[in-house]
């Protein structure tokens, strides 16, 4: 949505001005509660602890249509103990889920990279599930200059 300048606002009839300034609810964004629900679905309500997860995301993304993202988790990748699943969540996107990765001991290293869409400035969260049933998380804030989810 285009920001409403003071000049624009004054030029409009009063009732529209009030509406514009109040900011109509934006259907194209999910809520933090929906994001939390997605994480809950992934963990099944288990405790989530901070993990040694490196999230490589630009601090400022000029174009939300394609933001490079790389994740590297400092965790062994053996048959006994490995990262089996990775969930990516963007709280302020139309749908909080970005992707879910399934890794195996054959991965050798819990590292993935992709390019994502971000609808606006927000926090990207990563939740990793290990083969022994633990959940690790990390998050990173990204400033987005131009949002990338249509709408």
């Amino acid at each position: 949505m285009r920001p409403v300048s003071r000049r624009d606002a004054l030029a409009l009839p009063a009732q529209f001005t009030a509406l514009a300034l109040a900011g109509a609810p934006d259907p194209a964004h999910s809520t933090p509660a929906e994001a939390a629900a997605e994480i809950e679905k992934f963990t099944g309500g288990a405790a989530v602890e901070p993990g040694k997860i490196t999230i490589d995301l630009p601090e400022i993304a000029e174009n939300g249509n394609s933001v490079p993202l790389a994740i590297d988790i400092d965790h062994p990748m053996t048959a006994e103990s490995h990262v089996s699943d990775l969930l990516l969540i963007a709280e302020a996107n139309p749908w909080p889920r970005i992707a879910r990765f399934q890794l195996t001991p054959m991965s050798g290293r819990a590292a993935v990279a992709t390019r994502i869409r971000l609808a606006g400035t927000q926090t990207v969260r990563v939740v990793a599930k290990t083969s022994d049933g633990r959940f690790l998380t990390a998050q990173k804030q990204v400033k987005v200059t131009i949002g990338g989810c249509g709408g």
Binding site: A28, M77, Q102, M106, S107, A111, A113, T114, R115, C149
Partner: protein, 107 residues
């Protein structure tokens, strides 16, 4: 699908080496929120699943959502213990599957 997927993978590796595989497939990843010039919503059409197997064993898989950028790029690691064939598949919402394979030799 017009273009073949692009896959970057070393031809030859040492036994036990961890390599990175980079894949890219041409796809608009239409997220279902965009409107065309007439103002009607363009229906969702994305690649929703990617999988990679090595000699028939699953190595890596991914469920993608509309929040993955157009022309989805995916990079991941694999520890290679033997020579063999990597098979890759991308599945579209409409059921179309794009497939590719790459061989690797252990020296």
């Amino acid at each position: 699908m017009a273009k073949a997927p692009r896959i970057k993978i070393p031809n030859e590796v040492r036994k036990g080496e961890i390599i990175q595989i980079k894949t890219l497939v041409a796809h608009e990843m239409e997220n279902g929120l965009r409107r065309d010039q007439g103002g009607t919503l363009v229906p969702r059409k994305i690649i929703n699943h990617f999988a990679c197997t090595f000699n028939g064993k699953p190595v890596f898989a991914c469920e993608l959502e509309p929040a993955v950028a157009a022309n989805p790029y995916l990079a991941f690691s694999v520890r290679v213990e033997e020579s063999g064939i990597f098979r890759f598949s991308w599945i579209d919402d409409d059921g179309t599957t794009i497939e590719a394979e790459e061989t690797i030799a252990v020296s």
